[in-house]
């Protein structure tokens, strides 16, 4: 399940950013890209991202986003 989630997230990131992100490095996403990322996550992973969940820490790196989504899915 975790592998599937990470794989899908990686595919989303590649489609948005054009390359595979450094997993631990800060993505530095601007607002428009962040909105596109959230929409893709919601569409591809069938998960809703709430406004209060949108913290810089959670959406800083590939690793932090993947960890946030895995925790959210397990709840």
């Amino acid at each position: 399940m975790q592998d599937t989630l990470e794989h899908t997230l990686r595919q989303i990131m590649i489609s948005l950013l054009g390359e595979l992100p450094n997993e631990q490095g800060s993505l530095g996403l601007d607002s428009f890209t962040l909105i596109e990322l959230i929409e893709a996550i919601e569409r591809e992973l069938d998960m809703e991202v709430k406004a209060h969940e949108l913290t810089p820490e959670r959406f800083d790196s590939f690793e932090s986003i993947a960890a946030f989504l895995a925790t959210k899915r397990s709840q």
């Binding site: 607002s31 962040l34 596109e36 809703e48 406004a51 949108l54």
Partner: protein
């Protein structure tokens, strides 16, 4: 949310006409890109849903733009300005602080001694004005003119990626009158919830530039706020989403409206959208869209229409309207 239900009173309040006006210059995405906006035309459309927007000429004041919308609404009702008891103007782009833009509009319309109020509730401003207008009618005024007018282009830096492509200039106005109980505006609710995060900020109306920080957070918060605000009013009125013929959300951004439909489980074709050719005209967006929907003949007598907005502050509002023949007939008049 504070909800006012005129349909529960002995008299009702109806929108009897709508008027609209846009800035004089239409700017498509290619023109905006040529002026220095950092994204390509196709990407602007993909990110915002906006294909073109209208900007006022430098000599056009917010009051003048509002005047065109108000005059059109009055012409459609075949009323003279002297028959208006009260004027309420929503704007967050006033021409100056004193006198108010509402006062200048009062002068342009040649209203007699009708009081002119000006309110500021960002993108929810029209619904705040509508709520005040409804209360004024219930309290005995015969006719109230509610207008929302914005010249947001004066507050923009075209090169700013966050704001430069989204906003446009426009004005919309409605005339309110009494009607039979249970018709017209069935319920209207407004609320303010203070947020310490200044995500959409403008210091001084004509000197500073609009800033939007943390746009993704604004996007999520606004969508959730619109859904909650709409749901609160519908629950209060005991009306289900499936009973609505149309929802006119604040035309903030096409993606935001799409997400609103997704959260509300509302078919996209029930949410009226004029963002592609109006852009985000802040508090004017709802009356502009209502005017367009009515003129397009997409609404029939008896249809239930929900208006809903969230704005900076945070401010939020919603109104539930039953369309009637008086309104439909007025919209067929040339103005």
């Amino acid at each position: 949310m504070k909800i006012f239900v005129p349909s529960g009173m002995s008299i009702g309040v109806n929108i009897v006409s709508v008027g609209a006006a846009l800035g004089e210059r239409q700017l498509d995405n290619a023109a905006l890109h040529a002026m220095g906006y950092p994204e390509t035309p196709d990407k602007i459309k993909r990110l915002t849903g906006v294909e073109s927007r209208w900007h006022v000429e430098p000599t056009t004041s917010t009051a003048a733009l509002a005047h065109r919308a108000c005059q059109q609404a009055l012409t459609r009702t075949q009323l003279g300005a002297e028959e208006i008891d009260q004027l309420i103007l929503s704007t967050s782009s006033p021409d100056r602080l004193i006198p108010s833009t509402a006062s200048d509009l009062h002068g342009l319309l040649k209203l007699k001694d009708a009081p002119a109020h000006q309110i500021s509730a960002a993108c929810s401003g029209f619904l705040f004005g509508l709520e005040l207008g409804v209360r004024a009618i219930i309290c005995g005024q015969r006719r109230v003119l509610v207008c929302a007018a914005e010249t947001r282009s004066r507050q923009l830096e075209v090169t700013d990626r966050a704001t430069g492509a989204i906003f446009g200039d426009g004005a919309g106005a409605v005339v309110l009158e009494t009607c039979g109980a249970g018709s017209g505006i069935l319920g209207v609710g407004i609320q303010s919830v203070w947020s310490e995060e200044d995500t959409v900020v403008l210091g001084r109306a004509q000197q500073d530039r609009l800033q939007m920080r943390d746009g993704a957070s604004v996007y999520l918060t606004a969508v959730e706020g619109m859904k909650q605000t709409a749901q609160a009013l519908l629950d209060h009125m005991n009306v289900g989403w499936e009973q609505l013929a149309m929802v006119i959300p604040h035309q903030a951004n096409a993606r935001l409206m799409d997400r609103f439909c997704w959260l509300a489980k509302l078919p996209k074709d029930k949410a009226y959208s004029s963002i592609a050719h109006h852009g985000n005209t802040s508090s004017a967006s709802i009356p502009l869209a209502l005017d367009e929907a009515l003129r397009a003949g997409t609404l029939e007598a008896g249809d239930l229409v929900l208006l809903v907005a969230v704005g900076a502050g945070m401010s939020a509002g919603a109104a539930l309207i039953r369309i009637d023949d008086t309104l439909l007939k007025s919209m067929t008049r040339q103005a």
